[in-house]
Amino acid sequence: MATFDDVKEVIVEKLGVDAEKVTPEARFVEDLGADSLETVELIMGLEDKFGVTISDEDAESIRTVQAAVSFIEGKQ
C-alpha cells in the first residue's frame, strides 16, 4: 500500500484530480482526464518520486494506476 499511496500523491499533484478518484483500476486518460502533456508530466513525476527510469515503451503500457504501482514495485 505504501507504493500505492505515493503513486496516488504524484497523480493528484500532476493531474489535479481528487484523491478519491485515484483507485487502482482508474485509467489515466479515460477516467482521470489526463491529456498527452499531463501523461508525460505524470511519468516524469513518478521517475522523480521513485528514482526510477521509465522508457517511452514502458510508459506506453502504463495506462492505469495499478499498472504504475506494479511497474514501480517491479523496479524496486
Partner: protein, 415 residues
C-alpha cells in the same frame, strides 16, 4: 487621415487587476485616494537584487481560476484570466452573447511567462534537458493569455497577440478596436498582462539602471516627473477591456465607459532603450491618434502619460507633448498613474486605458502622486500633483512607449 465608413467602437467592460485594486470600483477608488501599491517584494528573496520593491498583486486569484488549473498556467496568464473574468462580468454580456466567431481575443504581454522560463532554466542546468516540463512551452509562450481566454469563453473570432514591451496594452486595445471598426467582430476581449516580479527580470532591469532603488521608502519610489525620480518601479497585473461595436452596445443598453476614437503607433528608429530626443517617435504616435479621430490637439483635455519615473522618459515625453500640443500643452492636464501602480510593462497601457475610460465617465482625473513639493524645473506641465481632480474632459489620450522604440497612443472620447 481620418478614415470614414468604419464602425464605432466603445468600451463596455473594465477588468483591472492591479497593485492598487482588483475590479473597476476598487481601482477607481484607489486612484481617487492617491493610493500607492508599491511595497517590499514578497514573491522572492531580494538579497541579491539592487531593487527590492515592486507593485505586487497579493489578492488570491482562486475565485477566478481553479487552483488545479492554475498550476498549468504561468502567473501572467492567471492574471489575464482574472482580468478577463472581471471585464466580462462588468460588461453584462452573457456567456451566450459572447460565444462564437463574432467575439475575438487580443491579449498581449511584454515578456510572457518569464517565471516559468526562469524555473525551467534552473531544471535545465541542474538536471538536464530531459527533465524539462512538458508544460514549459505552453506555459511560457506570450500568446497564451489570448489562448486561455478564448477557451474559457468559447470565443472563436479574430485572435492575435501584441508583444511590444511596455506599449503592449495600448497596442492590443488599439489593434483590437480595428477588428470591430472593420466589421470583422462585434466584441473584442482585449488588453495586456505581466508577471515579471522574478529575480531574473528584476535583476535584468536593475542592471540596466532602469529601476528605482528607493527601497527604504517604497510608496514614494514611483515619482514620475519629480526631480528626485530615480527609475521605474516594476508592477504586475493585467488589464482587460470589453470593446464592442457601438450600435450593438447601445441596443442592449450596455454601460458605455468611453469610445475608442483614435489610435497611433510608431517607431523611434533611434536606440534599443533610450527614447528619441524630444519624444520624436512618441510625437508621431500621438499625432496619428489625433488624426485618425479627426480631433484637433486643443480638444484634448487629459493625457495619461507613459510617465515611468525615469529621467529620460519623463523629460522626452514632456517635450513630445509640448511639440504636439503647442500652447495647449499647458492647458490640458497630464498625469502618470504609474505613480500609484508602478510600471506593469505589457499590462501598463491596458490598466491606463481603463483609468482613462473611468476618468472620462466619472469626470475625475487621476493624480500623479509623489510629485508635490519635488517638482523638476525642467518639467512644467500640469501633472495633477495635488490629488484627483474633478474635471470633465471630452477627449483623453493614453501614451505608451516601449524598449525597441515602439510607441502607441490611444485616444478615447466621452460618450
Amino acid at each position: 487621415m481620418a478614415i470614414t465608413g468604419l464602425k464605432r467602437v466603445v468600451i463596455t467592460g473594465l477588468g483591472p487587476v492591479t497593485p492598487i485594486g482588483l475590479g473597476a470600483a476598487a481601482y477607481a477608488e484607489a486612484q481617487r485616494a492617491g493610493k500607492s501599491g508599491i511595497a517590499a517584494i514578497t514573491h522572492f528573496d531580494t538579497s541579491s537584487t539592487a531593487s527590492k520593491i515592486a507593485g505586487e498583486v497579493n489578492e488570491s486569484l482562486d475565485a477566478y481560476i481553479d487552483p488545479r488549473e492554475a498550476r498549468k498556467m504561468d502567473r501572467y496568464v492567471q492574471l489575464a484570466l482574472a482580468a478577463a473574468d472581471l471585464a466580462v462580468a462588468d460588461s453584462g454580456l452573457s456567456a451566450e452573447e459572447l460565444r462564437g466567431e463574432r467575439t475575438g481575443t487580443l491579449l498581449g504581454s511584454g515578456i510572457g511567462g518569464v517565471k516559468t522560463f526562469e524555473d525551467q532554466s534552473r531544471v535545465l542546468v541542474e538536471r538536464g534537458a530531459g527533465r524539462i516540463s512538458p508544460m514549459f512551452i505552453p506555459m511560457m509562450i506570450a500568446n497564451m493569455a489570448s489562448g486561455h481566454v478564448s477557451m474559457r469563453f468559447g470565443v472563436t473570432g479574430p485572435s492575435s497577440t501584441v508583444v511590444t514591451a511596455c506599449a503592449t496594452g495600448t497596442g492590443a486595445i488599439g489593434d483590437a478596436a480595428r477588428y470591430i471598426q472593420l466589421g470583422l467582430a462585434d466584441v473584442m476581449i482585449a488588453g495586456g498582462s505581466e508577471a515579471a516580479i522574478t529575480p531574473i527580470a528584476i535583476g535584468g532591469f536593475s542592471n540596466m539602471k532602469a529601476l528605482s532603488t528607493r527601497n527604504d521608502d517604497p510608496q514614494t519610489a514611483s515619482r514620475p516627473f519629480a526631480a528626485g525620480r530615480d527609475g521605474f518601479v516594476l508592477g504586475e497585473g493585467a488589464g482587460v477591456v470589453i470593446l464592442e461595436e457601438y450600435e450593438k452596445a447601445k441596443a442592449r443598453g450596455a454601460t458605455i465607459y468611453a469610445e475608442v476614437v483614435g489610435y497611433g503607433t510608431s517607431a523611434d528608429a533611434h536606440h534599443i532603450t533610450m527614447p528619441a530626443p524630444e519624444g520624436r517617435g512618441a510625437q508621431v504616435a500621438m499625432r496619428m491618434a489625433l488624426a485618425t479621430a479627426g480631433v484637433n490637439p486643443d480638444q484634448v483635455g487629459y493625457i495619461n502619460a507613459h510617465g515611468t519615473s525615469t529621467h529620460f522618459n519623463d523629460l522626452h515625453e514632456t517635450q513630445g507633448i509640448k511639440a504636439v500640443f503647442g500652447d495647449h500643452a499647458h492647458k490640458l492636464a497630464v498625469s502618470s498613474t504609474k505613480s500609484m501602480t508602478g510600471h506593469l510593462l505589457g499590462a501598463a497601457g491596458a490598466i491606463e486605458a481603463i483609468a482613462v475610460a473611468q476618468a472620462l465617465r466619472d469626470g475625475i482625473l487621476p493624480p500623479t502622486i509623489n510629485l508635490a513639493g519635488d517638482e523638476d524645473p525642467a518639467l512644467d506641465l500640469d501633472y495633477i500633483p495635488e490629488g484627483a481632480r474633478e474635471t470633465q474632459v471630452e477627449y483623453a489620450l493614453s501614451n505608451s512607449f516601449a524598449f525597441g522604440g515602439q510607441n502607441a497612443a490611444l485616444l478615447l472620447r466621452r460618450v
